[in-house]
């Protein structure tokens, strides 16, 4: 027996594989593969940082939503802001205050609904709840608050003037 190989058996002569050498090469290749993956992860994290730094512009467009008188206490109204792909919800609380948020649940992007008697938003997909007062998650899987739509009332009309994430 030499180098861990028993040459007395015929099958070892037919298949002369040195496992220590084989493992040695495989591990080296795996180390290269993992380091390449490490470089890709740096690139991906850097891309995310670049998007966070340069990709988001502050939204300050003014858009008419509705007449303030059109919304009764505990009532709600759907609109889209800042683009037609961004559904939002305007709510007048029981106390008469106007609040607006993105309607997209921060968990998995289902549309939230207003629950008038509790002044809460409810996401029916996974039973997530948000506070109407500030959009923070109250219960269920969501961990991030709903993006708030900044409002302005002028001459009896309600305008959306920005988004606060």
């Amino acid at each position: 027996m030499a180098d861990g190989v028993d040459n007395s058996e015929q099958w070892r002569e037919d298949f002369p594989v040195r496992w220590d050498v084989d493992h040695y090469l495989t591990r080296r290749e795996l180390a290269k593969f993992l380091t390449l993956g490490s470089a890709l992860l740096v690139g991906a994290t850097g891309a995310i940082a670049a998007i966070g730094r340069f990709g988001f512009q502050e939204i300050r467009a003014r858009q008419w939503i509705a007449s303030a008188a059109a919304l009764q206490p505990s009532g709600s109204l759907l609109f889209r802001y800042p683009t037609s792909d961004d559904p939002c919800i305007l709510v007048r609380t029981a106390a008469g205050e106007l609040k607006a948020y993105s309607q997209v649940c921060t968990h998995l992007s289902c549309a939230v609904r207003h629950v008038p008697d509790k002044d809460e938003f409810f996401c029916p997909c996974h039973r997530g709840f948000f506070a109407v007062a500030d959009g923070r998650p109250l219960a269920g899987p969501p961990t991030r608050r709903l993006p708030r739509i900044l409002l302005e009332e002028r001459d009896g009309d309600v305008y959306a003037v920005g988004v606060e994430v």
């Binding site: 993992l34 992860l41 740096v42 991906a44 994290t45 995310i48 940082a49 966070g52 921060t106």
Partner: protein
Amino acid sequence: METRQQGAVLFSGILVLIGTLVIIQLWLLTAALEALLARDAGVLLPATLSSLVLFLINAGLLWYVVSFDRRVRRDEGRGVE
């Protein structure tokens, strides 16, 4: 124990270390993505720099493995055990 066997053991240890660092980088990537979605820009740069440092460590370990391998091949070519 011959040098190639020693190398196999050494590579196992280095592989575990590289794999652990890559998992930490994956965690940093998910943390950065979560911060991006929450518009928390303060986390993004430190996460990127940390990931870069971990990559440099990984590259250094790989360089060590490759140079070790070259040395083993050179020694075997000369007939040194």
